[in-house]
Symmetry: C2
Subunit: 419 residues, 2 copies
C-alpha cells in the first residue's frame, strides 16, 4: 500500500507540475495535440486492437458477461469513432481566456472575470476504453491535466490508448504528464488517488452507483458525481394524449439502459382512463413490463402492484413503474420524494402548469412536452460531454468544456488603492 | 454523541424540508422577510445586547484576549449595522429564476438554463455574531435554507439574533426552519453536521486556517473553503515607482489582519535600488517589520533574513517578506511555489507584461496597478459577500448571491422525442 501511495502521489505531483504549461497553451497548440492524438489512434489502431484482444481474453477467462464484453470490445470502427471524437473536440470553441462581466467601477477600476482551467482533473471510470480518449480530449481542450483511472478489465486497452495520446503530446512539445493513466490495477490506487487534494482539483467518477458512492464517501478532493437517474414523465390532465404516448414510449424504450431513461410514469387521474390503456399497450408492444399503483391496475389489467421499492428504482431496463396522481402538486411531491433530481418532463397544453413544473421541479433538466432522453451534452448543444452532474455545486446536468473550467476575477487599474 | 447526532440530523432534515418553500418564494416575500428581520433586530436590540453581555462576561472569565473580545462585542451601532446589512441585501437583485443561454435547437426544442438555489447551505464560523445575520440574509435572498453554527464564545448572542430572524420568518408566513442555528456548543455537533450529505448541499467554513482545514478533511458535503491568503505584489522594472509605493503600502497596512492583505513583496532587480529604500522607509513609518532576501538586505539595512517559512507565511500582521527577483518569470514562479492562489497584483507600465501576469497568474483575483485589498465582494461590485472562495470548484474569489445558486437546464418542446 505505501508503495502504491508513493507511486500515485508522484504521478499526481507530476500532473500538477504539468498543469501550468497546458493552462497557458494557446488554442492552436491544443488543437495540434488533439490532431496528433487522432492521427496517432488511426495509425496505431492495430496496437490498440491487439491490447484489447488481450483484455477480452482475460475477461472471457474470468467468465465476464456478454453485455460487459460488448462494452469492453473495440473494433476498427470503434477506434475510428474515438479518433473522430477527438476531431470533434478540436472543432469546439476553446473556453479558456474568455472574459466577461467587465465593468468599470466608480473608482475607475475595470473589473471582470476570466475563464480558466480547473487544473488537474481525475476521472475514475469502468469498462468502455473509449472514455480514455474522450476524457483526455475534453480535459486537454479545456486546459486541464487529466489523471485517468480506467477499469482493470480494460487495462491493456487503456494503456495502449494512453501511450498513443502521450506520444502525441510529446510530438507537439507539451508535457506527457498532461495525460496520465494510473499504471496499476490495484484497487488501493483509487484510495491513494482520493487523498491527493494537494495536487488534484476535481474527481469525476463515472460508472455504477457503487463506484460513485464509494468515491463520494472517500474523497478529500471535490467530486462531481454522475449518479443515478430516477426520471419521471408526468402526463397532465390537459395533455395532448398522442404526444404523451409518444414522449412516454420514447423516454422508456429508446435506450432503456441509460440514466436519462424514464423509470416512473405519473398520470393525472382525469386523463388516466383515456391515456393509460393506450400507453400500456404501446409500451408492452415494445417489451416493457409495467408495475402500477392500485388505480393504475384498475385501468390496465395483468399488472404487478408497485411497491415503495419501485418508486425508488432505477431499473435501467424495460420495466416501468406507473402511478395515477390527483394533481400536478401530487406529481411534484412524488418527484421530490422519490426522484434523484436528474431529469423530469411534463406533458401538458396548459401554460401555467408548464411554467410551474419548469420552476418548481428541482432537477438537472426539466422539460415541457419532450422526452427525458434529451439530457445529454450533445443533444442540449454543449458539444461532447464528460458526464452528467447530479451534484448541485459547480455544474448541474451535462458537463461540456465550459464546466471543466472556472472563472477568476481580473482587475485593470491605474494605481487604485483602498480608502 | 448519538444524542447530538440525532439532534443535528433532525435539524438538517427539517432544513431540507423547508428548502422547497423558500426556493419557490417570490422576491416580494423574501424581501418582506428581510425587512421583518431588520425591523426585528432594531426592535430587539436590547435583547441582543443583553445576550452579548452574557457572552462577554464568560469570555472575560475565560481570559479571552482583547482582539477576540473586540470581535465578539456588540453595541447599538453594531446591531444597527446588522440591520442595515439586511436592508442592503433586500435591495440587491434576486438571482433566482433568471434564464439565460436560451437557444432553439434544430429540432425546435428551446433549451436554456435557469438559476436556482443550491438548497441547504451550512455555515460554520467563529467569533463575530454579525455573521449570523449576514449569512442568514444572503442565503434567504438566494432562496436557500441556512444552517448556522457560530463559535461557542458567541452562543448567547447568536441564539438571540437567530431567534429574532426566525420570528420574522414566521411573521411573513415562511417556515422558521429556513434559518436554523445549531443549539449546542458541543464540538461533536460540527462532526455530526459534516456527515449530513443527505440533507445539506454545501458547507462554508469561515474562520481560522485550523477550522477550514478540519472541515475540509471531515466533510462528506461539498465545501467552499475560505482559506488563507498569502498575497503578493510584484513591482515590475517598468513600474511607476510612486504608484508602486502607494499600492504596496495600501496592500500591507490598510488592514493587515485580513486575507487580502499583501504578505510578500517581489521587486524586479533593476528597479530594486531605486524602489526598495523608499518603499521600506514608508512601510516602516507605518510600523511594518521587514524580512528580506540577501539582495534586499544589501539595499535596505537592519533587516532580518527571510527564510522559506517567511515566503509561506500568512502573517495577518504588520510584517512583510521582501524578495528581489530577476524577472517577471521568476516572480510568477515564486507566486506559484509559495502563494495560496488568493490575490496577486503587478505594478507595471508595460502592456505585454501586464497581460501575461493577468493570464498566467492563477489566483482568485489578479490585478494590474491596484491594491490586493480590492478582493472583496463589495469592492468588486457583487454586493455583500458570504466569503471568498479559494476552492476552484463552483466559485473562485468573492461569493455573492449568484454564487449561492446553481443553474438547471430547462427545455420547452412541442412533442420532441429522440431518434
Amino acid at each position: 500500500m505505501n508503495d502504491i501511495l508513493a507511486r500515485v502521489s508522484n504521478l499526481c505531483r507530476d500532473a500538477k507540475a504539468a498543469s501550468a504549461a497546458i493552462a497557458r497553451a494557446d488554442t492552436a497548440t491544443k488543437n495540434a495535440a488533439l490532431d496528433a492524438m487522432a492521427r496517432g489512434l488511426r495509425r496505431g489502431a492495430d496496437v490498440v486492437l491487439a491490447a484489447n484482444a488481450q483484455d477480452l481474453e482475460s475477461a472471457r477467462a474470468n467468465g465476464t458477461s456478454g453485455a460487459m464484453l460488448d462494452r469492453l470490445a473495440l473494433d476498427p470502427q470503434r477506434v475510428e469513432a474515438m479518433a473522430k471524437g477527438l476531431d470533434e473536440v478540436r472543432g469546439l470553441p476553446d473556453p479558456v481566456g474568455a472574459m466577461d462581466e467587465l465593468r468599470r467601477l466608480p473608482n475607475g477600476l475595470q473589473v471582470g472575470r476570466m475563464r480558466i482551467p480547473l487544473g488537474v482533473v481525475a476521472m475514475i471510470y469502468e469498462a468502455r476504453p473509449n472514455v480514455t480518449a474522450d476524457a483526455a480530449g475534453l480535459t486537454l481542450k479545456s486546459g486541464n491535466v487529466a489523471i485517468l483511472r480506467g477499469g482493470s478489465e480494460a487495462f491493456y486497452s487503456n494503456t495502449a490508448i494512453a501511450g498513443i495520446l502521450r506520444s502525441a503530446l510529446r510530438d507537439v512539445g507539451l508535457p506527457e504528464a498532461v495525460v496520465s493513466l494510473i499504471d496499476t490495477t490495484d484497487r488501493a490506487a483509487v484510495d491513494a488517488l482520493l487523498v491527493q487534494d494537494a495536487f488534484v482539483d476535481l474527481v469525476i467518477p463515472r460508472g455504477g452507483a457503487g463506484l460513485v458512492r464509494s468515491v463520494m464517501q472517500k474523497s478529500r478532493i471535490p467530486v462531481l458525481a454522475h449518479a443515478e437517474g430516477v426520471c419521471h414523465v408526468y402526463v397532465d390532465d390537459s395533455a395532448d394524449l398522442e404526444m404523451a404516448v409518444a414522449v412516454s414510449v420514447n423516454a422508456k424504450v429508446q435506450r432503456p439502459a441509460v440514466c436519462n431513461a424514464m423509470e416512473t410514469l405519473l398520470v393525472h387521474q382525469s386523463v388516466a382512463p383515456a391515456f393509460l390503456p393506450i400507453a400500456a399497450s404501446r409500451l408492452r408492444a415494445s417489451g416493457v413490463e409495467l408495475r402500477g399503483c392500485e388505480r393504475t391496475r384498475k385501468l390496465v389489467p395483468d399488472m404487478v402492484l408497485a411497491t415503495e421499492d419501485d418508486w425508488r428504482a432505477e431499473y435501467l431496463d424495460l420495466i416501468l413503474a406507473v402511478r395515477v396522481v390527483d394533481s400536478l402538486d401530487q406529481a411534484m411531491d412524488h418527484i421530490r420524494q422519490y426522484g434523484s433530481r436528474h431529469t423530469e418532463a411534463i406533458v401538458t397544453s396548459n401554460h401555467a402548469r408548464a411554467m410551474r413544473f419548469i420552476r418548481e421541479v428541482d432537477s438537472s433538466l426539466v422539460l415541457v412536452n419532450a422526452s427525458t432522453r434529451f439530457n445529454d451534452g450533445n443533444q442540449l448543444g454543449l458539444g461532447a460531454e464528460i458526464g452528467i452532474s447530479t451534484t448541485r455545486i459547480h455544474a448541474f446536468g451535462p458537463m461540456g468544456l465550459e464546466e471543466l473550467t472556472t472563472r477568476k476575477f481580473v482587475a485593470f487599474g491605474d494605481g487604485q488603492v483602498r480608502g
